[in-house]
């Protein structure tokens, strides 16, 4: 399986017809984009809202962010985009694609939600997230029927992001690519350790029937399975609606997959990806962990594995048991895991521990607090939040000073390992 991704790096953006990419500048015709989106059957019953740019360093705060999506488009006459989500189900992972580097599509949620995130493009909040260094096109969507269920609305928001991203990257693909990255698992020296990636796609803590995660499947019945890393990079996997410390950008531009690819043949051999989910019951967890460990050890023949999680506290048990099962099979492991603030001590960082989990990398304390100053310009609504677990807390004026948890800063807490924020003991 071979995937070539053409990179188009953006260093300026503007609204101007026609939509095109040239010499680092992305210009977008907002009317054409809106027309395209409104013409799509996935978005029937919705009104596409205003669009706005947010540039790195600007005194801008984007609030009520539901998802962060890369601008990515698969090239070719019969190429499908995000199969099962916005296209029929056909193979991905092989072929040529266009990717706009340094740009995100920010999908805004019109409904208040504790998991909505915000992004300051300058000021102290910007230091904590790699997303503050990129350009952003913010888009949003309003259901014609205000009574529409959250699940249906989120499904449309998810597709809005994917459709916008493909629209932009398709326009860019008309230009000559600046660089091309090739992804292929070539045979490498047998002396190198074979490293696998156990990619937890979703958590059954909060199942969302019908959400497209793996080739359009909602993974409610998923047993561990093998994926080629190119399938991840090429749109077979879509992040779940529940965006706790994850987003579409990090699912597709998966930092573990990209890191293992970058070092394939250098100091390791990338053995492959095992897709799993976190479970709600012990037998289901046990079954999944056992099968995932077998896939890593006996099918991928891995010497080492990296495990990432998704969801909240219970999947920490899935991670611990997966690490145990792998170490039991003589596979050396490390895990990327967030931690809880608790009472602030190092002892109460996780809900589950294992003596075999002796190589954990911190994705940060997700519920530690951070103070953000007022911001002159806001995109995404007058109100933001709520930002605490207090059921009585109301949304707050979005431009004012805000006290938020780290997880509310888009990209700061990334459960797949895309951020530099980390728990440090002192």
């Amino acid at each position: 399986m071979e995937l070539a991704i053409h990179h188009y790096r953006v260093d300026s953006v503007e609204f101007k017809a026609p939509t095109a990419f040239s010499a680092g500048c992305l210009q977008v015709d907002p009317d054409e984009l809106r027309q395209y989106l409104q013409s799509r059957p996935e978005l029937a019953g919705f009104r596409v809202g205003e669009m706005a740019w947010a540039r790195p360093g600007e005194p801008v705060r984007v609030v009520n962010i539901f998802d962060v999506v890369p601008a990515y488009f698969r090239l070719g006459a019969d190429a499908v985009q995000y199969p099962g989500a916005i296209s029929p189900i056909r193979p991905v992972g092989q072929g040529t694609s266009a990717f706009i580097e340094n740009l995100d599509v920010l999908v805004l949620n019109r409904r208040p939600n504790r998991n909505n995130k915000l992004l300051d493009l300058s000021g102290p909040g910007a230091q904590w997230t790699p997303q503050a260094e990129r350009f952003h096109l913010a888009v949003d969507l309003e259901p014609v029927d205000p009574q529409m269920s959250d699940g249906a609305y989120w499904g449309a928001l998810k597709r809005l992001g994917l459709l916008t991203g493909t629209y932009l990257a398709r326009a860019a693909s008309q230009a000559v690519a600046q660089t091309t990255a090739c992804y292929r698992l070539d045979a490498v020296s047998p002396q190198l350790p074979r490293v696998a990636y156990v990619f937890m796609l979703a958590s059954h803590q909060r199942p969302e029937p019908g959400q497209p995660v793996l080739y359009g499947d909602d993974v409610s019945g998923l047993l561990p399975t093998l994926l080629h890393p190119n399938e991840v990079l090429d749109g077979a996997v879509v992040s779940p609606y529940w965006n706790l410390g994850v987003d579409m950008w990090s699912y597709q531009r998966n930092p573990v997959v990209l890191e293992l690819y970058a070092r394939h043949g250098v100091d390791l051999a990338f053995a492959g990806v095992v897709a799993t989910v976190a479970h709600a019951t012990r037998p289901a967890r046990q079954r999944s962990v056992t099968m995932a460990a077998h896939l890593v050890r006996y099918h991928l023949g891995a010497d080492a594995a990296i495990v990432t999680k998704v969801g909240g506290g219970i999947p920490e048990s899935d991670v611990m048991m997966t690490l145990e099962a792998l170490e039991e099979l003589n596979v050396r492991t490390s895990g990327v895991i967030w931690s809880h603030l608790g009472e602030g001590g190092v002892e109460d960082s996780l809900t589950a521990y294992s003596p075999r989990a002796d190589a954990l990398v911190s994705a940060g304390i997700f519920d530690d607090w951070v103070d953000l100053p007022a911001m002159p310009r806001v995109i995404g609504g007058e109100q933001a939040g709520p930002f605490s677990d207090d059921a009585n807390e109301l949304p707050k004026p979005a431009s004012g000073p805000l006290r938020v948890q780290f997880r509310h800063i888009s990209g700061a807490i990334n459960q797949l390992g895309g951020s530099r924020v980390s728990q440090v003991a002192y």
Binding site: W128, P255, A304, S334, E347, G417, R420, S422
Partner: protein, 348 residues
């Protein structure tokens, strides 16, 4: 170049290091002196002009421990001096002095918000009580280590005043046992690959989330004999009616005793439940559902058990394991002393 203004420090000492006398003066009330006294002079000395001790305050060790109001008086003295920083000790291994040093430093840090350091030895019993609240400089066990202690205090204070991050890995301070978010050099995904490769090669690596393993006690052998001496214990938040002891409903730091001598069964007239972690309506209707005193009394009437005259109780919700372990040790003391052979612990 302008000469750098020295750091103005208030220094806390006990009666002994202040030169007032030994154990005979341990009941000395709080005192204050202008400028440095005893070890404070050494601190100025080793700092080579970087530190100026503007006032020395203190109290007798026994006085401080026995008079809770002493710390308020001392805080006022420190506030009055208007200094940049506060240094308490070093207390070395001395337990009462360590308690005073830790307590006063923690209060100064919290209430005055100035740079604060305590100093003591690793085996000082006050260390674990105060390390989370204030930076504590690591010293040797006794006064023979005074010069080194003062050099270390001066160094840590200088860095603290310069706004540097205090790091227990590189400075002579005890880790606080706390955590915070910081930015590392590279993203977590790259560190995870680095770490697993180090592990595979057998090279050194340090987990970023230290392992917390709670000891698993072995169960005691089954109790023998008739009648069996039994106590009833619960973490379900049982309290006396009206909660006269103001027991918390979670995050517990203490437990309470509920007398049951002569009581045949629990009733809402006698007890209630104060616990935030479960639906308490059913046990409030019939508290024997939480602690089965009614059935235990029946067994007692049959001559099979003999009940301890108190129920021990706490609210187990979100209670730190360290606190819960301490409750267990504290409860086990009187029970063992009374010859209790078994405990029925009903949890929720």
């Amino acid at each position: 170049m302008e000469p750098v203004r020295p750091i103005r420090v208030v220094h806390y000492l006990n009666q002994f290091f202040a030169g007032l006398g030994g154990e005979s003066q341990a009941g000395h009330p709080p005192f204050e002196r202008e400028g440095p006294v005893g070890p404070g002079k050494l601190l100025e000395d080793v700092s080579q002009g970087a530190i100026s001790v503007v006032a020395t305050v203190g109290a007798g060790d026994t006085y401080f421990v026995e008079h809770p109001e002493a710390s308020q008086e001392l805080i006022s003295m420190v506030r009055k001096a208007g200094a940049d920083a506060f240094i308490a000790g070093p207390a070395f291994s001395s337990g009462r002095y360590g308690e005073a040093v830790g307590a006063i430093a923690a209060r100064v840090a919290q209430e005055l918000g100035i740079a604060t350091l305590a100093a003591m030895a690793e085996d000082n019993p006050a260390l674990d009580r105060y390390r989370r609240q204030v930076w504590i400089v690591r010293t040797g066990p006794h006064g023979g280590h005074m010069r080194k202690a003062m050099e270390d205090i001066a160094e840590v204070l200088r860095r603290m005043m310069a706004g540097e991050i205090i790091d227990a890995n590189t400075l002579p301070v005890f880790p606080r046992g706390l955590k915070q978010n910081r930015l590392r050099e590279v993203p977590a995904a790259r560190r995870a690959v680095d770490m697993v490769l180090a592990k595979w090669r057998g090279a050194d690596f340090v987990s970023e989330i230290p392992l917390t393993l709670h000891s698993k006690p072995n169960p005691a052998p089954a109790a023998q004999g008739l009648p069996l001496h039994v106590a009833l214990v619960t973490d379900g938040g049982l309290v006396r009616r009206g909660n006269p002891e103001r027991m918390p409903s979670g995050h517990s730091k203490r437990w309470c005793r509920i007398p049951i001598a002569g009581v045949s069964r629990l009733s809402p007239e006698l007890v209630e439940v104060n616990h935030q972690g479960y639906d308490t309506r059913f046990v409030n209707l019939d508290p024997n559902r939480l602690v089965p005193l009614d059935v235990a009394r029946e067994l007692e009437a049959e001559g099979r058990i003999r009940l301890y005259p108190e129920i021990f109780s706490t609210a187990g919700l979100a209670t730190a394991v360290e606190d819960a372990s301490r409750f267990g040790r504290e409860m086990a003391g009187p029970l063992k002393e009374a010859g209790v052979q078994a405990v029925i612990l009903t949890s929720t």
